[in-house]
């Protein structure tokens, strides 16, 4: 028993009524390794982790910690047994300091009085040990997303976690922050911590993991290491069929410039210039990708094109020669813009609305959906059913609340609605962020389809693979400016990376 794994989960089965969430799953983690759990939404990763964290009890199977059979009945008992979890959505009180957040829920050594000095000292120790560099006396709201995540890690380490679960930790981080996080995680494994890394970003998984376990429909479908596999194989293990990570793109002759941006400058939320004199043409039949680390003005630029954010004087935005510089969203859409916003649940869809209502969000006023002053629900259902079928949106019914669909299906719903408006220009911001591979593949093929029939597409994406796979031309944004525009054929990952960093 000298090298019993830190964690062994053996033959775990968990059913919910009608759903086999985990089917005979076996999984182990050794001290000092990163073991990745890879799988699409609903594959059973979360259920397995909730079992490990004591939120669910398995129907059968056993959990061993350090070789001993463990009974984990609640998150508290998980923490006592030195299992820590960093949730995707942070569990921090923004108005409290780092030290106060770390101490929250722990007994003080000084009875009723807090013991924050001792806590701060220990935080500094942990920070130094792992290179986390966090000031214990600063309030959470002053920290960046990456720094908040470090506080969550410190919280777990402070509670002596030997096994740390990180649930999609990179989803909210910029590429630079991801690199920093990986350095920290490697430092932790070097010190003997075992890490369970949950992600569906394939290149990150390949970069960080020691071992990879792939789940699909509750079953283990792959158990491999980065040296034995590649992105294509991993994607196919996740989806269970052949996938095209790089879609086919036929040659299309360029048409006229349909979207024209001239010297567009925009102020951000803080009143400082976020977009600084951007000029760009997008022609019929091409996809222009805007690459860049988030926060370099892409969001503001997209909002300005969509008519949601005013441009500074001297700017000009036109679609098919209609001047839309001062137009609001309604006029911009009437001029032929389809807009797939970056945050689909904030700007793209009304979560509480039924699927059919969201499909109708931009054209509910169309007289063809009315009989007299009232909605003609028969016609509306027919229209929505056609869109749902055509774009294979997986939904139990047209009346299902949209928020209960998966991210990929919500995005397909938004695409269906937007493309049905027969746009001349499509503005798609992060079109496949957080979307499963199957849906992403589908969304990409739809965008290319639109390009082939002469729509001008401006795609903003932080995902370099997506930009390289789809775009005909690539513009790189840095600090509000377009620093370079490269033809796809001439673009390399290295050159783009350098431009994204402002070099």
């Amino acid at each position: 028993m000298e090298h019993a794994p830190l964690l062994t989960m053996r033959n775990i089965t968990k059913t919910f009524p009608g759903v086999l969430a985990n089917d005979d799953v076996s999984f182990d983690v050794h001290a000092g390794e990163v073991h990745t759990l890879l799988g699409e939404n609903g594959a059973g990763k979360s259920t397995l982790m909730k079992i490990l964290f004591g939120l669910y009890q398995p129907d059968s199977g056993e959990i061993r910690l350090r070789g001993e059979v463990a009974s984990i009945t609640s998150p508290t008992s998980a923490i006592e047994q030195r299992v820590g979890m960093v949730h995707q959505h942070f569990m921090l009180v923004p108005t409290l300091t780092v030290a106060e957040n770390v101490a929250l829920g722990l007994p003080s050594n000084r009875g009723f009085r807090t013991d924050l000095d001792a806590v701060s000292e220990r935080i500094v120790e942990i920070s130094e040990q792992y290179g986390l560099s966090v000031d214990p006396s600063i309030e959470i709201w002053k920290l960046s997303v990456g720094e908040r995540q470090r506080v969550e890690i410190i919280k777990a380490l402070y509670r002596d976690a030997e096994l740390l679960v990180l649930d999609e930790p990179t989803a909210v981080l910029t590429p630079q922050e991801v690199d920093d996080l990986f350095v920290i995680l490697r430092q932790m494994t070097a010190n003997g911590t075992g890490i369970i890394f949950i992600s569906h970003k394939l290149h990150e998984v390949l970069e960080l993991s020691d071992r990879i376990t792939v789940l699909r429909n509750g079953k283990v479908t792959g158990d491999t290491t980065p040296s034995e596999t590649n992105r294509q194989q991993l994607a196919e293990m996740m989806v269970g069929r052949e996938v095209k990570l790089a879609p086919d793109k036929p040659h299309v002759d360029l048409g006229l410039a349909r979207l024209q941006l001239r010297d567009v400058s925009v102020k951000g939320d803080r009143g400082t210039i976020a977009v600084d004199g951007v000029s760009l043409d997008v022609h019929a039949g091409e996809i222009v990708g805007i690459a860049g680390v988030s926060g370099n003005g892409q969001r503001e630029l997209a909002e300005t094109i969509a008519g949601l954010r005013p441009a500074e004087s001297g700017s000009s935005v036109t679609i098919d020669d209609a001047d839309l510089t001062k137009a609001g969203p309604a006029r911009t859409r009437a001029a032929g813009l389809a807009y797939v916003p970056e945050e689909r649940m904030k700007d793209g869809a009304v979560g509480e609305f039924e699927v059919s209502e969201n499909l109708l969000l931009i054209n509910h006023g169309d007289p063809k959906f009315r009989r007299g002053p009232l909605f003609d629900f028969a016609k509306i259902r027919e229209h929505c059913q056609r869109l749902v079928d055509q774009f294979s949106v997986k939904t139990p019914s047209l009346d299902t609340p949209t928020s209960s669909l998966s991210g990929g299906n919500i995005q397909k719903l938004i695409m269906a609605r937007e493309l049905d408006s027969r746009p001349s220009v499509i503005l798609a911001a992060q079109p496949t962020r957080g979307v499963d591979i199957g849906a992403a593949e589908y969304i990409h093929s739809e965008l290319i389809e639109q390009r082939n029939v002469g729509v001008a597409i401006l795609m903003i994406s932080e995902d370099l693979d997506e930009v390289l796979g789809l775009a005909d031309r690539i513009a790189v944004m840095f600090e509000g400016r377009i620093v370079t525009v490269i033809d796809r054929e001439a673009a390399t990952r290295e050159a783009l990376g350098l431009a994204m960093a402002g070099g």
Partner: protein
């Protein structure tokens, strides 16, 4: 499962509130059974009393229907009182100005004046919220006070009953022209035109909210203004619409209170609820109890109307102050709101206990349609 608790919870809350009411009656030295009997008798004992209950419920229903529009658009309209007064003042002024207009013309005209008065009074906080980000809870409450003082001034000065000038100076208008009086529908009772009008108004609100593009936009803005704006829907315009329509229905309640009353005049006592009888607030309660659904607001308003008429009888029979009705009102709201918290807690427990799957947890695992009341209370708390 959730749908079931959705219906049972408010009724359970009402029951618990009545239980507390019974305890209060007990401590006042009377029998709760007799008390309940007196209340039921007072509210439904005779045909005339049923009619009186319906009449008491009418302003609550109109205000409640108006409130559902505003709350569905995520606009918290607490200005029912002021909007009632604005509608009453404008329609009364019109009736005073053209008393000789024939009945068929004057009744629609005073109704229209009430809608316009209340609608404009509601539009003010709407414009302030939409274009200057003024919190509508504060502005509507403030405008209640403005309306009350405006009414007090007008009824003590320009609009006062000439008979009162030299004498007791009761703040009231003269008896208005019979040409504007709401016709009685059943001879011998007080059931007047306003009652079916209010029911019709609630049905129209339902149709607007759920079957027209306007209602679609209001609800879209209410649930997610960002997505609505990105889709090309004007958030500002719909906020103004929501508050104007809400105010218009409250204004209509003001018309009913004047032209459906036996005294046929606008009369107050100088206090804050002298004219409205707090209908502008009780209507909010009725709307919340009806789950912010215009159709459920109909029975809900009649329940609260019966509470009001029942309490009058309670006072007469058992000498129990009719303030008990107000207390019951408050208790029901309290229990409905807090029982929702209890239910959330129950749902959480159900989620946790999914480790031992039982038949009733089956539905908890699949997403269910959001219950109307749950939605309503989440929006308001």
């Amino acid at each position: 499962m959730k749908r079931l608790t959705g219906g049972i919870v408010p009724l359970g809350a009402a029951l618990v509130a009545f239980l507390f009411g019974a305890i209060m009656i007990l401590t006042l030295g009377a029998s709760p059974v007799e008390g309940l009997g007196a209340m039921i008798d007072g509210a439904f004992g005779t045909g005339d009393r049923v009619a009186a209950t319906a009449v008491r419920a009418t302003p609550l229903l109109l205000v409640g229907a108006g409130i559902t529009i505003a709350f569905r658009a995520s606009v918290i309209n607490i200005g029912g009182e002021g909007q009632i007064i604005a509608g009453a003042l404008l329609s009364t002024a019109l009736a005073l100005a053209i008393p000789d207009t024939p009945k068929v013309l004057l009744i629609p005209l005073v109704i229209l004046a009430g809608i316009v008065g209340g609608g404009l009074w509601g539009a003010i906080p709407g414009v302030l919220k939409a274009y200057a980000s003024v919190n509508e809870i504060l502005s509507t409450i403030m405008l209640n006070i403005v309306a009350i003082q405006l009414m007090n001034y007008l009824l003590r000065g320009p609009m006062i009953d000439p008979v009162e000038v030299g004498t007791s100076r009761i703040p009231q208008t003269e008896r208005l022209t019979d040409n504007a009086a709401f016709p009685t529908l059943i001879e011998g009772t007080r059931l007047h035109l306003g009652v079916p009008m209010a029911v019709l108004a609630a049905i129209i609100v339902y149709v607007i909210l759920f079957r027209t593009p306007l209602g679609f936009r209001l609800r879209a803005v209410g649930h997610n203004p960002d997505a609505a704006r990105a889709a090309g829907i004007s958030v500002e315009r719909n906020i103004v619409s929501a508050l104007s329509m809400s105010g218009a229905l409250c204004g209509l309640a003001g018309v009913v209170l004047v032209f459906g009353s036996e005294s046929l005049r606008l009369v107050t006592d100088g206090g804050s609820a002298g004219f409205t009888g707090s209908a502008g607030f009780n209507g909010i309660v009725a709307a919340l109890f009806g789950g912010l659904h215009p159709l459920w607001t109909i029975p809900s308003s009649f329940l609260f109307g019966s509470l009001l008429t029942g309490a009058t009888e309670l006072q007469r029979e058992l000498q129990i102050p009719n303030a008990l009705a107000i207390a019951l009102n408050g208790l029901i709201v309290l229990f409905v709101v807090s029982s929702d918290k209890v239910r959330n807690w129950l749902d959480l427990r159900l989620d946790r206990s999914m480790s031992t799957p039982r038949s009733e947890t089956a539905e908890a695992a699949v997403p269910l349609e959001t219950d109307d009341l749950e939605e309503a209370l989440e929006e308001t708390t």
